[in-house]
Amino acid sequence: MHRRQKPSAPEHKRDLAAHGGALSMSHNDTRSFFNFSQLVLSAGHLKSPPVLKHSKITYFEVEILDMQSKKQICIVDKVPPSSTLLDVKHRFHKACPQWYPSRVGLQLERNGPYLKDSINIQSLAVSSIITLYFTDLGQQVGWTTFFLTEYTGPLLIYLLFYIRLSTIYDQVESTKNFRHPVVHLACFCHCLHYIRHLLETLFVHKFSGGHTPLKNMIKGCAFYWGFTSWIAYYINHPRYTPPSFGHRQVSFAALAFLMCEAGNHFINVTLAHQNNSGSKACFPSPTYNPFTWLFLLVSCPNYTYEVGSWISFTVMTQTLPVGIFAFLMVIQMSLWAQKKHKLYLKRFYPEGKFHVATAEPSVEGRQGQGHTTTRISSCFKVKGKESTSSMSHQMQLG
């Protein structure tokens, strides 16, 4: 902009000189002085100004106080305005090495909400000193570790019961009794389920790098491992009673189980692909794969398929503890799916004009078919944006 004015100034002067030619000499003098001063003023800087002069930038100072005691823990100074909260957390970690960034919870006011890592420092600032309150979120663990631990446990525990360790079952009875084939099939299905989960955790799911408190991992592991021990005990027991309706019940349930497993897998792959291509603005749409057609009916078909797997497993083994486990999973998945559904509504239909039809209380409901065209057209209009919300990942991965 400065450079542009330099060549135009002589032209400007020439124009005025042309105009001024008709007037008297005195007018001309004043006018020419006027023009000259304008030239000086409009000429701009004689040399290009430095882009970032250090004395001109307002650095921020971030004061970090302990939330409980209000005592100052440390001050992070010379924070450039373009940095995010995560940079501040890294600096804080350097100052106080025991608080690594994922463990740090910072709030603007006491008992306020925790601030996201991606927040810009400038948006928080009221003055050049920002005061933040620190809470220790406790030992954190990455999502991958969380899921790997949670799924490896049941896999191994069930196999321990399957091989009928002498400490668990009476050895004499174990060797005497004939094992119904459904017991072998149940072991195969159970292992298939957890191996699939493990492989998906390793190769399919993309975690946003979030963390979760260690306490959550302990609770999750206790729940899965405890229930797996309980159900494995009964299925592999020497006095196990096979299903009442015999082979027909077993084969039908096994088929349903395999279909639900396949469906769950394809849904997870679809969701992961969607994450990769970055088109998160669009609700996942069904593809040529028949298993993904469940997207037309429900918002979170991966949860539906998971629930289906466990119900089929219950029917296949006809074991009450498995039924209790399946029932608890239904409750858990419904809660997660409802949250996810609300998130989808907020993200894709922010006006909230569309009416939500819930198919049944436990299964996730969605908009009617009439709105399909509107949804597809809106998908083309809105550009996809990557949103890294760790909560959505938590809910996405049952």
Binding site: N111, P113, L137, P213, Y234, Y240, T241, T319, L320, P321
Partner: protein, 244 residues
């Protein structure tokens, strides 16, 4: 109101900030007053029944039979409190209240009523007396609080007498369960064994032992929580009195 409160305060870690608690409406208050008055009266009936039976018999053994019916009725009636919390007319946590009420109901029905041989035990009297005194004070406390005329004596009693009554009640309960164990084992009460059609087994004897063990972590927590509450409530009242 709840939606706006939760959307503002949700910090993504699942913990909610305390919402502004709206008190119960006039109808709910009237119902709660009636409920608490009825419960106070009921437990007073049990107390009077115990005293009369003691005076009539001359000894404190086997007094359970004289108050068996009112005890069962009014202790089971406490289940309504879970509904009160669920409907929000009482500002307590549903889970905590459910846990407390269910443990009482469990002891009344699944141990004392079901295992007839323990009904002559002295430990039964121990926890019945503890429960009676505690419940009379507690329900009258709630009644007066709802009517906004809480006498200091009731508040003091509620937050002080538990120091003796709570351990007394817990001892009575544990001794009763322990006394019931051999009879449960012998009769196979409430137990299912393999093999059966649904591949399920339940051993009531082991379950009772687990219940007894669970008292070890739970009792100290609740006890110290009550002590903490006591310090908070009674010192708060002291400050109020001094400032007047």
């Amino acid at each position: 109101m709840a939606a706006s409160g939760s959307s503002r305060a949700d910090n993504g870690y699942g913990s909610q900030q305390p919402r502004r608690r709206k008190g119960p409406g006039a109808l709910a208050t009237a119902y709660l007053v009636i409920y608490n008055v009825v419960m106070t009266a009921g437990w007073l009936v049990i107390a009077v029944g115990l005293v009369r039976a003691y005076l009539a018999k001359g000894s404190y053994h086997s007094l359970y039979y004289s108050i068996e019916k009112p005890l069962k009725f009014f202790q089971t009636g406490a289940l309504l409190e879970i509904l009160h919390c669920a409907f929000g007319i009482v500002p307590s946590s549903v889970v905590l209240t459910a846990f407390q009420v269910m443990s009482r109901v469990f002891l009344t029905w699944a141990v004392t009523h079901s295992v007839k041989e323990v009904q002559t035990e002295d430990s039964v009297l121990l926890f019945v007396v503890a429960w009676t005194i505690t419940e009379i004070i507690r329900y009258s406390f709630y009644t007066f609080s709802l009517l906004n005329h809480l006498p200091y004596l009731i508040k003091w009693a509620r937050y002080t007498l538990f120091i003796i009554l709570y351990p007394m009640g817990v001892s009575g309960e544990l001794l009763t369960i322990y006394a019931a164990l051999p009879f449960v084992r012998q009769s196979g009460l409430y137990s299912i064994s393999l093999p059966n059609k649904y591949n399920f087994s339940f051993d009531y004897y082991t379950f009772l032992i687990l219940v007894m063990i669970s008292y070890i972590p739970i009792f100290p927590q609740l006890y110290f929580h009550m002590l903490h509450q006591r310090r908070k409530v009674l010192s708060h009242t002291e400050e109020h009195k001094k400032s007047e």
